[in-house]
């Protein structure tokens, strides 16, 4: 059986979630591995959320926000970007490949780009194989 990864995506309400909805209204198919959590702003994505997702068995985490300069809340996406860089170093220490986490900018009009991103990220995770962190956590506790 081929490996079908589970990917948790955090999409900001104003740009990326709307962009993902646009992919839907435009009927652009993409791989069904993405499971979305809507937040108001990418600035709301706490490192805890990402770690929780990995802990619960996500094979990848995708975060999307508005393009730089377009944030509905002026600069939440910059805050997210800063945290993302720090978090990347952190997950590597935890034994999670840094490719398993991605931050991308998707605007409300980029339905096509969102679908392409979903497919491309799913492929990346498929190549990496299942995340081991859940097993590790289980043995630890």
């Amino acid at each position: 059986m081929t490996f079908e990864p589970t990917i948790v995506s955090f999409l900001c309400n104003w740009c990326s979630y709307t962009g993902a909805d646009l992919a839907g209204t435009s009927r652009i198919p993409y791989s069904p591995n993405l499971r979305t959590i809507r937040i108001m702003c990418s600035g709301r994505i706490e490192p805890t959320f990402v770690m929780k997702a990995f802990r619960e068995g996500a094979d990848g985490v995708l975060m999307c926000g508005c393009h730089p300069g377009d944030c509905h809340y002026h600069e939440g996406n910059y805050k997210c970007l800063r945290r993302y860089h720090l978090l990347q170093k952190y997950i590597v220490q935890m034994g999670i490949e840094k490719e398993r986490m991605r931050l991308e900018w998707i605007s409300a009009s980029e339905g096509k780009q969102f679908a392409a991103l979903a497919d491309e990220f799913t492929e990346t995770i498929k190549k990496l194989g299942p995340s081991k962190i859940k097993k590790v956590m289980e043995t630890l506790t």
């Binding site: 959590i37 709301r44 619960e56 809340y73």
Partner: protein, 576 residues
């Protein structure tokens, strides 16, 4: 604590969801979950009977949490929240799972789509357990309105609102009112004077005691929220502050500059002019070539910068009918001239325009078709033997021949672009742009002049290319929206704001640094951060920054999101 009783509803959305996703299977799976009292599927949850079922269930079964798995919450979350309210439940005790836009419409495999839908609904169920009732806040609406842009759209909106007896501040960057409409000679398809239409509007606006016109004025900053905005405007070097409750953005268009299209040699050959330049000639009553002579051969080229991936992919919508208008005007001004209309597709849409096209086609005009896929027509200077100033060459689609057209004057039907200030105004007002710098409406069909920012409306060509008639429709629609808002007197505002738990706050002030709205201040006495709920817009950035977890982003709390993640990933037992 009261017992959690959840009702879950899986919508078929006709066949939109049900044809790919096994809704009955989901309803069955969810029924097995703890605290789920009711789990049903229904053809159209948003319909009246759908909502009535929901309300009846809440009342009969004492449900206190509701999950609806249907379309995007951006469409029907307000609908279901209202239904909860009707049933006497706090509207925030509700969560939606998007199984249409982000599932049934984008996936092909039935099994995976159903599996994903189960996960999404489980996530919603586990999130909704942690929902808390929030009380809506009501604020008074300032009855003044700011209209940005003094073209035909801004003028119309301003007049509509002022005539209803409400104050309007009309902001215009340039030194005169009227915008593009003041620069054109006749309108299509009726061939009536645009000046006779716009001049009375300008004077009405200028003389109305409820309209304050700000010419040569730039917006420096906009703050506040729906019902209570304020802005700093700078006029002649001085800054002043105005307050108002709603904003109508009508920043209009900018004509595309064809210098970037090498084939057309605009600014290289003097007799290649743009549509706006021809309007000036028509207003003056004479159409001449650069050397002052009467042109014997005139070509009009359509789609200059439109419907071409290299320039603008969209159709500018007004140029075809405008070109037909030129053909008519040129035919009456120069009865013996040869007129060539070089089009890519004739899109004379709208009331009376097809008839206008038919009438124009009988006025001895040669219609030539080109295909942008096979390259653009190319204009070159003619030789002395050509009996014309320039030669246009291209592959004529309907004959399949490469042809040459001798011309003395070429009119380029330039595309409509968003105004260069659109981005800045979008930033100030907090509204979004689509890929082409036009503003995005809240819903293209159901809410075409509202934006995702409450209290900010868009009208006219800033929303997308359109003619005067459609711009006025939008101008009046936006004015009506504003007036209905003013008539309500007060409105309920978003309550999903941030909240500081003073017991936990350590006074580090990190949240104050990250807040983009200056909504958090510091209480020196208590040594804690304090959120001004009227200014907070609920982005949650402070919440994710707070090192002690003292800040709670209401309706997006840590526990709500974490349990949603948990629900999303509980997949062990799922097999079909």
């Amino acid at each position: 604590m009261e017992e959690i009783r959840i009702g879950v509803y899986i919508c078929w959305c006709g066949s939109n969801i049900a044809q790919l996703i096994d809704v009955k299977f989901i309803a069955g799976e969810i029924k097995k979950l703890e605290n789920v009292i009711i789990s049903r599927d229904y053809k159209y949850m948003c319909s009246d009977p759908g909502q009535e079922t929901l309300i009846a269930d809440i009342k009969q079964n004492k449900l206190n949490r509701i999950v609806v798995a249907a379309c995007s919450p951006r469409i029907h979350e307000p609908t279901f929240r209202k239904a909860l309210e009707k049933a006497g439940l706090n509207p925030y005790m509700f969560q939606m799972a998007n199984i249409r836009e982000q599932d049934s419409w984008v996936h092909i495999d039935k099994e995976y789509a159903t599996l994903k839908a189960v996960a999404l609904v489980k996530a919603a169920v586990s999130r909704v357990k942690h929902h808390e009732p929030l009380n809506k806040k009501s604020v008074e609406v300032n009855s003044a309105t700011m209209v940005i842009g003094g073209g035909i759209t801004g003028l119309t909106s301003a007049l509509e609102i002022a005539q209803a007896g409400k104050q309007v501040y009309l902001i215009e960057k340039s030194d005169s009112l009227g915008g593009i409409t003041a620069k054109i000679d006749l309108t299509y398809p009726d061939l009536k004077s645009a000046g006779q239409m716009i001049r009375p509007k300008i004077s009405q606006v200028q003389n109305h005691n409820l309209i304050e016109v700000f010419l040569n004025t730039i917006l420096e900053d906009i703050s506040g929220y729906v019902g209570n905005f304020s802005t700093k405007v700078r006029r002649n070097g001085t800054s002043e502050e105005i307050t108002f409750g709603n904003i109508i953005v009508a920043t209009g268009l900018k004509p595309f500059s064809p210098v970037t299209i090498p084939e057309y040699k605009y600014k290289v050959l003097p007799d290649v002019i743009t549509s706006i330049e021809l309007e000036k000639m028509l207003q003056d009553g004479t159409v001449k070539t650069s050397d002052g002579s009467k042109p014997d051969n005139i070509a009009i080229i359509h789609c200059v910068g439109s419907r071409n991936e290299q320039y603008h992919p969209y159709c500018s919508r007004t140029c075809c009918s405008t070109a037909l208008k030129y053909a008519n005007q040129l035919r009456s001004l120069l009865p013996d001239a040869h007129l060539f209309d070089i089009y890519a597709d004739m899109r004379a849409y709208g009331k009376g325009c097809e008839e206008f096209y038919t009438n124009t086609s009988n006025k001895n005009i040669m219609f030539l078709m080109y295909d942008q896929k096979n390259g653009l027509p190319e204009i070159r200077k003619a030789n002395s033997s050509d009996n014309a100033g320039m030669i246009i060459t291209f592959s004529e689609k309907l004959s399949g021949e490469n042809i040459e057209v001798p011309v003395d004057l070429v009119i380029l039907m330039t595309a409509v672009e968003a105004h260069e200030d659109a981005k800045e105004v979008a930033r100030l007002t907090g509204i979004s742009l689509c890929g082409n710098d036009f503003y995005i409406e809240k819903h293209p069909k159901l809410d075409p002049v509202a934006t995702t920012t409450d209290g900010v409306y868009i009208a006219g060509t800033c929303q997308g290319p359109k003619g005067i008639d459609e711009s006025i429709v939008q101008a009046k629609a936006a004015a009506a929206k504003v007036l209905s808002m003013i008539a309500m007197g007060s409105i309920e505002i978003e309550v999903a704001v941030s909240h500081v738990n003073e017991e936990v706050c350590c006074g580090c002030q990190t949240c104050i640094m990250v807040c983009p709205y200056k909504a958090i201040s510091f209480d020196e006495e208590k040594n804690v951060s304090v959120v001004n709920e009227a200014l907070c817009k609920g982005c949650g950035t402070c919440g994710s920054t707070c090192p002690t977890g003292a800040i709670k982003s209401l309706h997006f709390t840590d526990i709500q999101i974490l349990s949603q993640i948990e629900g999303l990933l509980k997949t062990e037992s799922e097999t079909i």
